[in-house]
């Protein structure tokens, strides 16, 4: 487990939104697994922290939930993006890209020094 990175606060919401966009409606467990897979198993997600994050997104109106059946016929609560969620994702993603781009300029070694 040593090499695995904990999820930073705040980025989890973005990951959830992005995952829901690509996968469509998904239950909590599926989301957690998918986030881990997408990160190339580099992220160690404490599954328990996912639920308060989902609740917050739902309270803010970015996702909505409903009970349904999983692929192996278990009852599960499915989450999907709302319209506001789509907009939010687009905005957050571009903000994030900008932040990383700026940070990258600082962190890449200078060409001439």
């Amino acid at each position: 487990m040593g090499d695995k990175t904990d999820v930073w606060q705040g980025t989890l919401a973005l990951m959830v939104l992005r995952t829901l966009e690509t996968m469509g409606a998904q239950h909590g467990y599926g989301l957690a697994r998918r986030i881990e897979q997408t990160s190339g198993d580099l992220l160690q997600l404490n599954y328990g922290t996912l639920y308060p994050a989902l609740l917050k997104l739902e309270q803010e109106g970015f996702i909505q939930s409903s009970w349904g059946l999983s692929e192996n016929n278990r009852k599960a609560k499915f989450y999907e993006l709302t319209k506001a969620g789509h907009r939010r994702l687009k905005k957050a993603a571009s903000e994030w890209e900008q932040t990383t781009a700026i940070l990258a300029r600082f962190l890449t070694p200078a060409e001439e020094a």
Binding site: Y47, Y51, P52, K56, E60, A76, A84
Partner: protein, 886 residues
């Protein structure tokens, strides 16, 4: 926006969290099941897969907790929990809750009641727009110790010309009209006003219009604006009243406007007509003829002091241009402004301030009482708090719990008080004589609500913070160990409670001695001799109706003398007379300058000044005023004979210090005709027992003057309804066209003149009784609490041979020491307050020693009784039982 939405959802989630919890449990269940399925597929055993899933979840309970925290608002939720808990606590101890609520309701209710009156009378009389910007002009002659709310026309004109400071200025004079309706004569008080008058008061009509500047000119068509009440009476509230004609004193006036129902200003006036001053009224010669009331609405941001300074500069400039500055300087003349609310409230102002202070004391006493109750309860609940602390409650949480309980109690009390307060305020105004209270409308207003909410908050802080802080600090050593074995409570624990008791005793003493002081000052007032005997004298006012009657001196004289004759013939009537104006009648009174023959006046010197009245021959007999020298007005002094006058002793001394005025000539009334002085009578008080405000007096013969009304007065052996009926028929028989508008007893008029003082005494007595009751309850509670805590100790003492009396002495000694400390603190406060009040009230401060000593003894005895009951009970316990009690 998004976070607001989330907040509202979380707020909603506080109620109905159970279902969400079940829902989340199901979701977690499905999460673990899905994960376990995956584990089994990967080759783990079912048990192992489930264990793995739970580990990765990070613990189901922790997850649930963090989910819960996000789901709703945990801090608020704990507040709601505490509130629910507090409610349960109070329901479980109904005796405690009821006594606390009752105490607080009484205190907050008293405050709300007084504030609602203060608000309506002093802060914001109904119907006026921004009353704080309206000021009334006053004239002062410091050399003559004269100070009155009237000014002359040139002064008013100067005030109105200060355009940088004044929004509007208006002048006003009182008048009255007789209105004939349905065969009856109705007498209506009216105000003659200038056109900007309504703008000054910020009053708008509901129908029609107000006066135009054109209507300020004399000889325009007569118009009238009606009050709402008169409109309802005379026109049944019909909209077509505008444009109709109304007969006032048998002259047609066109109705042009109707004012709103909440506007009745000046109070008790029912219609307004233009004052239409002639240009001569503005002449500089009129500078010192103060016959009008003037009021000014200042521009926003202009302070009365700024306006005063500017007006004074302008007036002195005008005086210097004319020739008046010399007289103004020698007489100490000046003009100053007073806020409208202050001058309008008049005699009600001081009593209201005193009562306001009194209810504040009551509030403090009640807060101390409730704090004491809480402390007593807290000690019985110490185990509960110890357990809560042991389970992890922080100091703040426990303090929060206690504060919430006080907030809950004061909240209930405040809502009860808000509904009862203004009603009590209305009742309070009913205790005040009509002429002072009429026209004030006490209502539930935002200001009253805000005030009540504010004092409720203050009360709960005073009552709750002490106990809450104490418990929060003490919670560590408190509780399980001390409460476990009933030792005598530590000194420290009693200190706060005894402080509350000392405070209560001191404040009650203050109220009690204050009551004593005002009571003795009232007695002092009642013993002041007004110079006449009001007992058994009735006065009936007749406002002459009919223009011809009003202008005919012989008709008035004939009517009055014949009415007096018929009255005197009534059985039970000892003597009858007529007088105008009547002493101690707040609606009446008149004064003017006069000249003394042979004493020329300097330029602009208005000459001597005094009050005057017109009387019939038996006036002295009815009033029992002694004649000092010469003779009184006789039936032979008629319109056909030489005008005569009788002066009072003070006027005689002032202008003829070394000789008799008899035979001298002074002005007849306010005119230029001379009248011969024929006698000197004793000086009487004219309108107040509190202070001698009378400004000398001249009496003239009723048969030689004319007026718009007359007071028929008569002394009776027994004032019965038979006499009243006889009086009405006597007047009706004299002249059916004239009617009595009001009958008053002179006794009532005199006692009404110190109604403010009486109001204070009554209210203070009621409040002092309340304070005494509260203090007693507080003391009783404290002693019972202490004795209960010391049951064990008392048992040991008695087992070792202490007698009952020793135990009682032990318990009483402590309590009475507190009482004595409280009394001495109260004594100091009382003395300071007496000195302050002496400045505020004339005839005040006699019997200080008696009322202080009396209150101290009374309070001490009552306190001793309140302590003795629980102490005796404690002393009669069986020592064996006491020792086994725990």
């Amino acid at each position: 926006m998004r976070s607001l939405r989330a907040f509202l959802l979380r707020l909603r989630a506080i109620f109905g969290s159970r279902r969400a919890e079940q829902d989340f449990s199901a979701e977690l269940e499905s999460h673990v099941a899905l994960h376990t399925d995956d584990g089994i597929r990967a080759g783990l055993s079912a048990a192992e897969a489930r264990r793995h899933a739970l580990i990765l979840l990070g613990g189901a309970e922790q997850t649930r907790q963090s989910y819960r925290e996000r789901h709703s608002l945990p801090r608020l939720e704990s507040l709601m929990q505490d509130l629910r808990y507090a409610l349960r606590q109070l329901v479980r101890a109904p005796g405690f809750a009821l006594s606390a609520i009752l105490t607080l309701t009484l205190a907050i209710g008293a405050n709300t009641a007084i504030f609602s009156v203060v608000n309506a009378v002093l802060r914001h009389p109904a119907g006026l727009d921004h009353p704080e910007r309206v000021v009334v002009l006053n004239t002062r002659y410091s050399q003559f110790t004269l100070d009155f709310p009237n000014v002359s026309v040139p002064v008013y004109a100067a005030a109105g010309a200060l355009k940088d400071h004044v929004d509007a200025a208006a002048i006003e004079a009182g008048a009255s009209f007789n209105v004939q309706r349905e065969g009856k004569t109705e007498h209506i008080n009216a105000a003659l006003v200038s056109s900007k008058w309504f703008q000054v008061y910020g009053a708008r009509p509901i129908l029609g219009r107000v006066f135009t500047p054109e209507e300020d000119r004399p000889n325009t068509a007569p118009v009238v604006i009606l009050s709402y009440g008169l409109w309802q009476r005379a026109f049944a509230g019909r909209g077509d009243a505008i444009g109709q004609t109304m007969m006032l004193d048998q002259k047609p006036y066109q109705v042009i406007g109707v004012m709103r129902s909440d506007f009745a200003w000046p109070r008790r006036y029912e219609l307004w007509t233009p004052i239409a001053l002639p240009p001569t009224a503005f002449s500089p010669d009129e500078f010192f003829n103060e016959n009008y009331q003037a009021s000014v609405r200042l521009l926003p941001g202009v302070s009365p002091a700024q306006f005063n300074a500017e007006l004074s500069t302008r007036l002195w400039d005008e005086l210097r241009q004319g020739a008046g500055s010399k007289y103004a300087t020698s007489s100490g003349w000046s003009i100053y402004t007073a806020p409208l609310t202050e001058s309008a409230a008049g005699p009600l102002r001081k009593p209201l301030f005193v009562l306001f202070g009194v209810v504040a004391l009551i509030l403090l006493i009640a807060s101390a009482n409730v704090a004491g109750l809480f402390l007593a309860r807290a000690s019985t609940r110490s185990k509960e708090f110890a357990i809560r602390t042991a389970l992890g409650a922080g100091a703040l949480r426990i303090a929060q719990q206690l504060l919430i309980e006080t907030f809950l109690l004061t909240g209930v009390a405040a809502s009860l008080a808000v509904s009862a307060g203004p009603l009590l305020g209305k009742i309070l105004l009913l205790l005040v004589p009509h002429h002072l209270a009429e026209g004030y409308d006490i209502r539930m207003e935002p200001a009253v609500l805000a005030f009540t909410a504010g004092i409720a908050l203050l009360t709960s802080l005073i009552a709750g913070l002490g106990p809450a802080f104490k418990l929060a600090v003490e919670r560590k050593q408190m509780g399980l160990q001390e409460g476990g074995r009933g030792a005598t409570a530590s000194q420290d624990k009693q200190r706060l409670r005894s402080a509350f008791v000392i405070g209560q005793v001191a404040l009650s003493f203050l109220l009690l001695s204050g009551t004593g002081l005002f009571l003795s000052s009232l007695q002092q007032l009642q013993h002041i001799d007004p110079g006449f005997n009001p007992r058994g004298v009735l006065a009936a006012k007749v406002d002459f109706s009919g223009d011809d009657f009003r202008s005919s001196q012989p008709r008035q004289a004939a009517f009055v003398s014949s009415a007096v004759e018929r009255l005197a013939a009534q059985p039970g009537v000892l003597a009858a007379a007529a007088i105008q104006p009547l002493v101690f009648d707040p609606d009446d009174g008149g004064s003017c300058s006069f000249a003394i023959a042979g004493r020329p006046l300097g330029p602009n010197d208005p000459g001597p000044h005094s009050q005057l009245s017109f009387a019939t021959p038996d006036y002295l007999k009815v009033m029992q005023i002694p004649l000092l020298s010469g003779r009184w007005i006789a039936a032979s002094d008629t319109g056909a004979t030489e005008p005569v006058t009788v002066v009072d002793e003070r006027l005689a001394r002032k202008y003829w210090p070394s000789q008799s005025p008899i035979g001298q000539h002074i002005s007849f009334g306010c005119g230029n005709k001379p009248a011969r002085v024929i006698g000197v009578v004793a000086t009487v008080r004219l309108n107040s027992l509190e202070s001698d405000t009378s400004d000398d007096m001249r009496y003239y013969s009723f048969a030689q003057g004319k007026d718009s009304s007359a007071n028929l007065i008569f002394r009776t052996q027994n004032t019965t309804e038979r006499i009243t009926a006889g009086l009405l028929s006597a007047i009706a028989a004299t002249d059916p066209s004239q009617a009595v508008s009001s009958i008053k007893s002179l006794d009532t008029l005199v006692s009404d003149s110190h109604a403010g003082r009486r109001l204070i005494v009554w209210m203070l007595a009621a409040f002092a009784a309340l304070a005494l009751l509260l203090a007693m309850v507080g003391l009783y509670g404290l002693i019972s609490y202490i004795t209960t805590n010391r049951t064990n100790e008392i048992g040991i003492r008695m087992a070792l041979g202490a007698q009952r009396i020793d135990v009682i002495r032990l318990l009483l000694g402590n309590a009475l020491a507190w009482v004595v400390i409280g009394l001495s603190a109260g004594l100091d406060l009382s003395i300071v307050l007496t000195l302050l009040l002496r400045h505020l009230f004339a005839v005040f401060g006699a019997g200080v020693a008696v009322s202080l000593a009396g209150s101290a003894v009374m309070l001490f005895v009552i306190a001793a009784m309140a302590c003795l009951i629980p102490a005796r009970r404690a002393a009669s316990i069986d020592p064996m039982k006491a020792l086994r009690a725990e």
